[in-house]
């Protein structure tokens, strides 16, 4: 059984009074547990929208067309209320965004511990878990620094530590390397791959970088709000390049 399974996923955004955007025009998608999947496509193809639906940040459109379905770990998600979806996000999912989204007034450690707090873990256990997660991304000694005192790559590693700290089943990353140079990108990818291998975590990342996509097990191509049927395999050579870099930085 897939960890995530969606059917008939549609999403229309309204821009202004009359202008609407069909971001998703009916998508069927399945993601197996333990997979590391890239969603690629040009901008406006609906890849971020798909990720927001998979990450329960938005619900799919329910009217005009066949009823959408979305299951996570076998549980139906479409009819869940906001509170329940928030709870699942806190406990079962980890998020990494393009802009190293950290809370500016909190230290690295506090940023990571915030995710523990939301998952119901507080005090010393949360501190220990947060330190451990920061250690995993190689930033244990920067725990007391605020985001402004960290480089872009370091900030993204803190965000990654925050996504990993609750050992979630699913990690969703929206352009996690979009604002990083290739060396920092490789670091982030290597860390994602490591937790994918070590913890068996399922990883879905949205990217427009073919190299990043190439480092994943599978690529979902999107165009105009639909998944491209040609789910072609990634050329072997690309994977090796990515693996080489992975070994070099690990």
């Amino acid at each position: 059984m897939p960890l995530l399974e969606g059917r008939n996923l549609r999403k229309t955004y309204r821009l202004g009074r009359t202008n609407t955007v069909n971001a998703l025009r009916g998508v069927d998608v399945a993601i197996e547990a333990g997979e590391m999947v890239a969603i690629i496509g040009p901008s406006g193809s609906g890849k971020s929208t798909l990720m927001h639906l998979l990450g329960l940040l938005h619900g799919p459109d329910l009217n005009h067309g066949p009823r959408p379905e979305l299951s996570f770990a076998g549980q139906p998600m479409v009819d869940l209320g906001e509170g329940e979806r928030t709870r699942i996000r806190a406990r079962e999912m980890g998020f990494v965004f393009q802009d190293f989204n950290l809370v500016p007034t909190l230290t690295a450690l506090e940023n990571v511990a915030l995710a523990c707090d939301y998952a119901g873990i507080r005090g010393e256990p949360a501190r220990k878990a947060a330190l451990e997660a920061l250690g995993l991304v190689g930033l244990a000694e920067r725990a007391g620094h605020r985001p402004a005192e960290l480089s872009g790559g370091e900030q993204q590693r803190v965000a990654l530590a925050r996504a990993l700290v609750n050992k979630p089943r699913l990690i969703l990353a929206d352009e996690p390397t979009g604002n990083l140079d290739s060396e920092r990108s490789a670091e982030i990818l290597a860390l994602l791959r490591r937790s994918n291998l070590a913890e068996g975590q399922t990883i879905v990342l949205v990217t427009h970088d073919p190299e990043v996509a190439g480092a994943c097990d599978r690529v979902i191509r999107m165009r105009d709000g639909r998944i491209q049927p040609a789910a072609s395999a990634v050329p072997a050579g690309d994977t090796f390049v990515a693996d080489d870099r992975l070994l070099a930085t690990a």
Partner: protein, 388 residues
């Protein structure tokens, strides 16, 4: 960095707004406390008895013209009258009325025990003793707390009233009302002082031992003071009476106006302080839209977001309230110290007022922060994350 400084400035200004409101609340509240205590004291003092004074020219119950003690005998004969206690009350200062919002210093002369234990107004002695019937004929005094503090005298010291030296034998605990400003004398001494204050032509025809300025009438058990007052006015010519009810009617309306002013100030500070908290929180939330988006995305519940922001707003209110209270307390202490030599002790800062001010500002801040917080918690996390 600049953004943070800007936020600091705005937060400071908001706190200042609340500070001013709470400051006003504390100062005026303290003034109301003092006045209410005076009124309450007066109300208690006049309860259950009838004050009789000369009808020709009395002011606020303190008679200017003397009455003959024969009037006391006349009143004693009236049905329902139990005890009649004559006294001589007058302003302490010879030059008459000083401009003052509080009660001016008074001297009250009465034969100790002539109330036959009917007086219920509680007096406690900080130093020394009460006057006794044996003090009649000697020049001794018991001073109210404010007087003793103002002139820095204690028992054994000499206290000069209208050029006559009195020996202080007792000092009262503060009562927050009239006795604080009163020197209690034996009746005979007060009668002499009173007669001495009259113009020489009138003075010669008066026997000091036969006069009083007020007759305090204690009704017999189960007799309404109002009924007794009516009977006295009907039976004795040229006197006016004052009961607890009269006092409440006269003074109560003044107190009501003052309390209305206080409520007005509280409302203004509520509106101004509240709006400024709403503004600060709305701006602060707009600046932190992305931060709120992150928190919601990684699993922060709406309730958590609201709680964090409401706590923050409550804290702004609390800090503003605490500073306002501190400044208000400072003003109260300074104004009281400045006014003490002239007897103008206008403020009484009670624990109740202090606690109310702090609670009020904290709750005000929290309530004002609630709507912006609710708005923030309802933001779409995805849109909030993209917010620039």
């Amino acid at each position: 960095m600049r953004d943070l400084a800007r936020r600091k400035l705005r937060t400071t200004l908001t706190i200042l707004g609340i500070t001013i409101g709470i400051w006003a609340l504390v100062v005026f509240g303290s003034m109301a406390n003092k006045i209410n205590a005076l009124v309450e004291g007066g109300s208690t003092y006049y309860e259950g008895k009838v004050s009789v004074s000369d009808g020709s020219g009395s002011a606020g119950g303190f008679a200017v013209a003397p009455m003959s003690l024969a009037t006391a005998d006349q009143i004693r004969a009236i049905d329902g009258v139990d005890v009649v206690m004559p006294d001589v009350s007058m302003l302490m200062d010879a030059d008459g009325a000083s401009m003052s919002m509080s009660i001016p210093p008074m001297i009250v002369g009465v034969v100790a025990g002539s109330d036959e234990d009917r007086e219920t107004f509680p007096l406690h002695y900080a130093q020394g003793r009460a006057l006794t019937p044996g003090d009649e004929g000697s020049y001794v005094t018991v001073l109210g707390a404010d007087l003793a503090r103002q002139y820095d005298v204690g028992i054994g010291d000499t206290f000069v009233i209208r050029d006559v030296e009195f020996k202080v034998v007792g000092v009262l605990e503060p009562t927050l009302t009239a006795p604080d400003q009163t020197a209690m004398l034996p009746l005979a001494a007060a009668q002499e002082l009173f007669v001495a204050s009259l113009p020489p032509m009138i003075r010669d025809g008066i026997d000091p031992a036969a006069i009083a300025t007020t007759l305090t009438v204690f009704p017999a058990e189960d007799v309404d003071p109002e009924v007794v007052a009516d009977r006295i006015e009907a039976a004795v010519a040229g006197v006016t009476t004052m009961t607890g009810k009269d006092f409440d009617e006269q003074i109560g309306s003044a107190t009501a106006i003052f309390n209305a002013i206080l409520i007005g100030i509280a409302l203004i500070s509520l509106v101004v302080g509240g709006l400024s908290v709403v503004n600060t929180m709305a701006m602060s939330i707009a600046e932190r839209t992305r931060e709120i988006g992150i928190k919601r995305a990684i699993g922060g519940s709406r309730r958590r977001i609201v709680r964090e922001l409401v706590t923050e707003a409550g804290l702004i209110g609390f800090i503003g309230g605490a500073i306002g209270l501190a400044l208000g307390a400072l003003v109260v202490v300074l104004a009281n110290e400045a006014g003490r030599p002239s007897g103008n002790v206008l403020f009484e800062l009670t624990t109740g007022t202090a606690v109310t001010a702090i609670l009020f500002s904290t709750i005000l801040g929290a309530i004002a922060g609630f709507l912006p917080a609710l708005h923030a918690a309802r933001l779409d996390p995805v849109a909030a994350l993209r917010y620039e």
